[in-house]
């Protein structure tokens, strides 16, 4: 995913219609520092704001981010208080790496949706032999979750034009289950990525990811049925 170049002030939103969602929708994005998790969650938050929703988006920066685990909580609803999602109440988990999917899947609510990037990244502690990478995280995940969608985001990204589009591909896949209009996603992408060229590339990636999710079994749960 390309770097955004934008001042907060330039992002203006019309007041939209927030009738499509009852309760609060909880989306957790998890990956590794440098994978574009925060930019991806930015797209989701901005698409939701365009839909007229209240949004809170929370993450931890600094040392925790340097090559380590990065998570971003996005909560969408009419009025959102807490910026953090409670354990076991995530409606949709987008994991940017297989072991991270394993790490964060207990946060999913029963019947929640897990979208996982088919990618394995071993940290130095594994390469040094101090810890072991799980043999097959995807196999373990299949047993746990409601709706489960593995996405070959890296391969799809290359197909769509750049390996850096993996994050946008994953968000496209998430868009297939999230109750937000595609136009709001598109507008968020156009606003987010400064130049038309970069925006077009990301739009292509987004649609590739979305189509992939829509055309793949198993059928996905309806994330608009939220709790709280």
């Amino acid at each position: 995913m390309m770097e955004p170049q934008m001042n907060a002030d330039e992002r203006q939103y019309p007041k939209g219609n927030s009738s499509g969602l009852s309760g609060t929708l909880n989306v957790l994005l998890a990956g590794i520092g440098g994978q574009g998790v925060l930019t991806a969650s930015e797209l989701l938050a901005e698409a939701a704001v365009r839909g007229g929703y209240d949004v809170k988006k929370s993450e931890v920066h600094g040392m925790a981010q340097r090559g380590g685990v990065v998570t971003s909580h996005v909560r969408i609803g009419r009025k959102v208080y807490s910026p953090i999602i409670s354990s076991g109440e995530v409606d949709v988990l987008v994991a940017f790496e297989e072991a991270e999917a394993l790490r964060w899947q207990p946060e999913l609510r029963p019947g929640g949706t897990l979208i996982v990037n088919c990618l394995r990244v071993a940290p130095p502690v594994v390469n040094l032999g101090l810890f072991k990478y799980p043999d097959d995280p995807l196999a373990s995940l299949r047993a746990f979750t409601g709706s489960f969608l593995p996405v070959e985001a890296s391969a799809l990204a290359v197909e769509a034009g750049s390996p850096r589009l993996a994050g946008t591909i994953l968000m496209g896949a998430a868009a297939a289950v999230l109750p937000l209009p595609v136009e709001d996603w598109e507008a968020a992408i156009r606003t987010r990525f400064g130049t038309a060229e970069v925006a077009d590339q990301n739009l292509k990636g987004f649609h590739r990811g979305r189509e992939y999710a829509l055309s793949h079994k198993p059928p996905l749960g309806d994330a608009s049925e939220t709790r709280g």
């Binding site: 907060a8 939103y13 809170k56 929370s58 931890v60 600094g62 090559g67 390469n127 040094l128």
Partner: protein, 619 residues
């Protein structure tokens, strides 16, 4: 620069909202030193038109700059992380006595969960200590609004005002309504020594005024729109502020709330009124139980929330569990914590591929008889595997004083111990220079490694006096570290390329052999800044790799193990061989691993050359 929008609603982090609030409040001068989670406040403020925004060398200087602007009659702001206020505590204590001319606001963000900090101190103590009012916003909109309120209160009550954020305010995005910026006020300096020259005689006159100000502030807190009762079921009343408020609000949607925005001094009248009208009174606060202690001291009965944790960040779940434990009917039953057995390996923070610090850690990690005092920055990661090359870390600049103390203690015990202090460029300028001066002044036999990567790395790559660029991207004169160390009295100063392992080794050996203070300065930039030029990545020739694993000792995250084999050695012992590959997307081409590879199996990607010396990297 395009003019910022002055109407509409936008998504902003708490830090961006504070910056916006400062701009809308007519602030013209702001200063800071980067520190998570507060860094982005000044970065965002610097992008607004008609403002002066700067990185100071440390928080004390930043505070004094902002205070100076206030004394000149402008509205000013200083921002920092919680531990930064320790550094700025000296001027804070007296600024409380002196008061303000233009409004003066101190924004402090507490890293409650210690995501990137050495402790979790509660800045609300500092407000009590310095006797200045403190605001606690609970989301981005409030973060913006409270800044304007803080300036009004500062000027009305002649006091600095602290705005306390936490990670979950600073780094949470929420919707914010924009407004316009008025003509910034400016009064000019007024020569009034009885106010501004804090001689003991003047300070003694000020002290009772500070106490009176606190009494007046209690009355204002009662009337403040920032403190509001939200009536619900009067069976349960909750007093809360900041993020604790939003978690409790969600857990108890029907309860009555007294939300404290101006949370110090406490709105005693309002609290008494609230307490008298609810059957049971609970107080939910993050970190320390300060409000609870104060309310109890008012003689008001408080029902215990029970197991509200006093360590780590609050979460909706922890608040819910505590309220549930106190017998309250919460909105959702707290769910069981995740099964830790199921979790995969940890993924701690690492150095980046090609980080220049790795060459230093690799070298020092092999010298087992050293004591290495560390400091605050990316290089604190030297404590981890495979280097184990950092043995202390206390606070900004502590590596130098710690090293001197260790060396002196050994000397007094008639023993010798080689000690190395390891500190980054910005941390050295923040508070390492005085430590080096002490080493020189008092004849310490200490070697100081200044890891100059020309940026404040851990906070995301900010400029500092050593980079020659200011926060507002003006050119300035960069610090000459060699000349600086020499000026402080160090005679043995070496400059070394951290990517040349033999040079690093030689420099360390030479410095350790030298009797007296010595300094080694590295000269390669952080891989995340513009100055770094990525060179051609390397690859591993599988048929030449002998599985020795020496390259893994660099700690580079671009090197990945592809297979492990156990072989029986002639002496009968088993040895595990680790065969590696290099991630071409991750590799920055620094060639450190090449220098560790005995069989010369690591070559530039795509080169056909085998078992020959790799080309000299260009940078």
């Amino acid at each position: 620069m395009t003019a910022p929008a002055t109407t509409g609603r936008v998504l902003m982090s708490g830090n961006e909202a504070v910056a916006r609030g400062a701009w809308e409040a007519g602030v013209t001068v702001a200063s800071s030193y980067p520190g998570t989670p507060a860094t982005e406040i000044l970065e965002a403020f610097a992008r607004y038109p008609d403002v002066y925004a700067e990185w100071a060398p440390n928080e004390k200087v930043a505070f004094e700059v902002a205070m100076g602007a206030s004394l000149a009659g402008a509205r000013s702001l200083v921002s920092m992380k919680h531990v930064g206020l320790n550094v700025a505590a000296d001027p804070l204590m007296t600024a409380s006595y002196i008061g303000v001319r233009g409004g003066f606001v101190i924004v402090v963000s507490d890293d409650v969960g210690m995501g990137s900090s050495q402790n979790a101190q509660d800045t609300r103590y500092f407000a009590r200590f310095a006797k200045v009012p403190l605001f606690e916003p609970s989301d981005s909109q409030e973060a913006k609004t409270f800044v304007s309120e803080a300036f009004r209160l500062s000027e009305r009550m002649d006091t600095p005002v602290i705005i306390r954020l936490t990670t979950r305010i600073s780094h949470v995005k929420g919707l914010v309504d924009l407004a316009d910026r008025p003509e910034p006020p400016f009064l000019g300096f007024s020569k009034d020594p009885a106010r501004y020259v804090i001689l003991p005689a003047h300070a003694r006159k000020k002290h009772p005024k500070v106490l009176q100000r606190m009494k007046d502030l209690v009355r204002l807190a009662d009337e403040s729109p920032l403190n509001a009762i939200e009536w619900g079921d009067r069976e349960i009343g909750v007093i809360a502020s900041g993020p604790a408020y939003v978690y409790a609000r969600e857990a108890l949607p029907d309860a009555s709330f007294l939300k404290l925005g101006l949370s110090f001094p406490l709105a005693e009248g309002l609290i008494r009124e609230f307490a008298s009208k609810v059957t049971r009174l609970y107080i939910v606060e993050e970190l320390e139980g300060l409000v609870e202690a104060d309310v109890l001291a008012m003689g008001i009965r408080v029902d215990s929330v029970g197991k509200l944790p006093r360590t780590g960040e609050l979460t909706p779940q922890r608040v819910r569990a505590a309220l549930d434990g106190a017998g309250l009917a919460v909105a959702e039953a707290p769910s069981a914590p995740p099964d830790l057995e199921m979790l995969p390996f940890p993924r701690p923070p690492t150095l980046c591929a090609g980080c220049p610090h790795m060459g230093v850690f690799y070298t020092l990690g092999k010298m087992k008889d050293l004591v290495i005092t560390g400091d605050i920055g990316c290089y604190t990661l030297g404590v981890g595997s495979p280097w184990n090359a950092t043995h202390t870390c206390v606070c900004m600049g502590a590596s130098l004083g710690n090293a001197l103390g260790i060396e002196k203690a050994y000397r007094m015990a008639k023993k010798e111990q080689k000690v190395i202090a390891m500190i980054g460029d910005s941390t050295f300028l923040h508070s390492g220079m005085t430590g080096l001066l002490d080493i020189v002044y008092n004849g310490g036999n200490v070697t100081v490694f200044i890891l100059d990567n020309r940026t404040v790395g851990m906070t995301g790559g900010q400029d500092h006096p050593g980079t020659g660029v200011t926060l507002q991207e003006e050119k300035s004169k960069p610090v000459d570290f060699v000349a600086l160390c020499k000026a402080l009295g160090v005679e043995h100063v070496q400059l070394v390329d951290p990517y040349r392992l033999p040079d690093v080794y030689k420099a360390v050996k030479e410095a350790l052999a030298y009797r007296g203070p010595s300094v080694i300065i590295t000269n390669q930039p952080c891989v995340l800044i513009e100055e770094f030029h990525r060179t051609q990545p390397y690859e591993v020739l599988d048929d030449l790799c002998n599985g020795c694993g020496a390259c893994l000792k660099t700690g580079c995250p671009a090197i990945q193990v592809i297979r492990r084999e156990v072989v029986r050695l002639p002496n009968g012992r088993d040895k595990e061989l680790t065969y590696v590959t290099i991630d071409p997307m991750g590799c920055n081409g620094c060639d450190l691993c090449v220098q560790t590879c005995g069989p010369k199996a690591i070559v530039p990607l795509g080169s056909s050359a085998r078992a020959t010396s790799p080309v000299e990297p260009q940078r």
